[in-house]
């Protein structure tokens, strides 16, 4: 039962992600990415990490994607740029980049596929509950990983301040 759910959610994630990059309409890309994040949250629940799943929805699907949506709406593009209308020099640079990227991704895919194995889902409720309990996540975040936590918050603050400064300067 877990395995079936896993395959369904994984298929949704992969197909939605493919849809993101292959869709002509930017709005559809954004919505498909949200679907992909939703399925990913489902995968987190299967891994007995409900807190991570819910945080994924709140932060990624709920806040960051709204940001993406705003950007797409304000740019008001209904479909992606037409390659025939681009200058030839730009097309050449783009195609070189695409070839390099495809080669790298193919290598990575080959390495990942060579390591496929079936994971068994643990059924030991005690072990599961202790790892994924919110209290333990909070404790770990504020003791073992306190430095990373503080640095991340400073990073987000810097980017927010930067965005405000840039927006004001164009006024």
């Amino acid at each position: 039962m877990d395995l079936v759910t896993f395959y369904i959610l994984a298929a949704i994630t992969v197909l939605a992600s493919i849809g993101v990059v292959s869709s002509r309409n930017p709005m559809h890309s954004v919505m498909l990415l949200i679907v992909s994040f939703g399925a990913l949250a489902g995968l987190y629940v299967l891994l007995d990490a409900p807190f991570t799943a819910v945080t994924q929805i709140i932060v990624y699907a709920g806040a960051i994607m709204v940001l993406f949506l705003f950007v797409v709406m304000l740019l008001n593009q209904h479909k992606e740029d037409d390659p025939e209308a681009m200058p030839a020099s730009l097309v050449r640079i783009n195609s070189r980049g695409f070839v390099l990227l495809s080669v790298l991704l193919a290598v990575e895919l080959a390495v990942a596929l060579s390591r496929i194995g079936i994971t068994t889902f643990t059924t030991d409720a005690g072990a599961v509950a202790s790892i994924s309990s919110v209290a333990r996540i909070g404790t770990a975040l504020f003791t073992t990983h306190a430095f990373a936590f503080e640095v991340t918050s400073v990073l987000i603050l810097v980017s927010m301040v930067g965005a405000v400064v840039i927006a004001r300067r164009e006024h």
Partner: protein, 350 residues
């Protein structure tokens, strides 16, 4: 030949009980939304010194059903330049998230339906140990319904209404979350059922141990943020009739419009239900909380809904920049201060 029972197919009695419960909750939400239509018009009328609907049914109680029948018979318009798929899916997202948020709210203790059931049935659709966060997450997803409605209608008024509404909702989500965090600190758990059971008992025999008495500022912040989240007056500028025609649902008609309406009312019900669970002791009452707890729950939720309607028809509307300034410059610092004070008191008093 022995009789085949349902249990042989893996369908246990508790599964059937759960399915019936889900159906009952769903219908109760829809009926509450219809009741809200009636209550809104009646309360608005009495505040304005008139009577309101009084022709359809006794005291106009069948008015919402008449409204729905009228809406169903209307033509389902669609602007030609609209993005069809997104246009259709926007009200669905709004309504689905509104219903989904209620699925983790417990509205009563356990019941055995007068001994019909073998095992006691908990009065909630599901018990998740991160229930408060689930409600928060589903509320964030509800923003997409509004944003997509505004965008896909391909009309100036809708787009502006949608963008403003979304910006308002994400701004007030912060204060909403911080008010929630303060209650979580007091209760020590994210599960709504545990938060309610922590509020059992009384001080000095008559003051119930509800969190509203420990967190008055937090309650105020939560209710204000909740009203802003549901786009209700005085924070309903994005839908203001006088300003933006009708905001993000300008181009919608018939059932799609009814879905947006229903989604808004059900969001109100969810905010009220969560406020009841967090601050007003949920289904706990002065007596018989174990058996008729859901009656206490409904009474408290209806009280908060009445306040919602009362506020709408009494207070003038905030202008959009005043609204955003209030959310960021006043409510958010207040929520942070509330959180810090609660943390200090929890640590100090153990």
């Amino acid at each position: 030949m022995s009789q085949l029972t349902l249990a042989d197919f893996g369908i246990s009695q508790s599964l059937i009980a759960h399915l019936v419960l889900i159906f009952v909750v769903f219908q109760a939400l829809v009926l509450t939304s219809a009741f809200m239509v009636w209550m809104e018009r009646k309360v608005c009328a009495y505040i304005q010194d008139r009577e309101g609907p009084n022709r359809v049914g006794p005291a106009g109680l069948l008015q919402p059903f008449a409204d729905v029948i009228k809406l169903v018979f209307k033509e389902d318009l669609r602007p030609k330049a609209a993005d069809t798929f997104l246009f259709m899916i926007a009200p669905i997202i709004s309504t689905a998230t509104a219903f989904a948020a209620f699925s983790v709210v417990p509205f009563g203790g356990e019941t055995t339906l007068f001994g019909l059931l073998d095992q006691p049935l908990r009065l909630e659709v599901t018990d998740v140990n991160v229930a408060v966060l689930v409600i928060f997450a589903v509320a964030s997803m509800g923003i997409y319904g509004i944003v997509l409605a505004g965008w896909s209608s391909n009309s100036k008024y809708s787009l502006l209404g949608g963008l403003r509404s979304a910006a308002q909702m994400i701004s007030y989500e912060l204060s909403y979350g911080l008010a929630l965090a303060a209650v979580i600190m007091l209760a020590g758990s994210l599960s709504l059922r545990e938060i309610v059971t922590n509020q059992a008992g009384t001080w000095w025999g008559f003051i119930p141990k509800w969190y509203v008495f420990l967190q008055p500022l937090g309650f105020f912040i939560y209710m204000t943020a909740g009203v802003a989240e549901t786009n209700r007056a005085p924070f309903d500028f994005p839908e203001a009739e006088q300003e933006l025609v009708a905001g993000y649902h300008t181009e919608y008609s018939s059932m799609s419009f009814a879905l947006f309406f229903m989604a808004e009312y059900i969001n109100m019900v969810t905010v009220s239900a969560v406020a009841t669970s967090l601050y007003l002791g949920g289904w706990l009452g002065p007596f018989a909380s174990g058996t008729i707890g859901w009656v206490w729950f409904m009474a408290k939720v209806l009280l908060i809904l009445f306040f919602y309607v009362w506020m709408r028809w009494t207070l003038p509307r905030y202008r959009y920049d005043q609204l955003m300034e209030f959310g960021w410059k006043w409510l958010l610092p207040a929520a942070v201060l509330n959180l810090i004070a609660t943390a200090a008191l929890v640590i100090w008093l153990g």
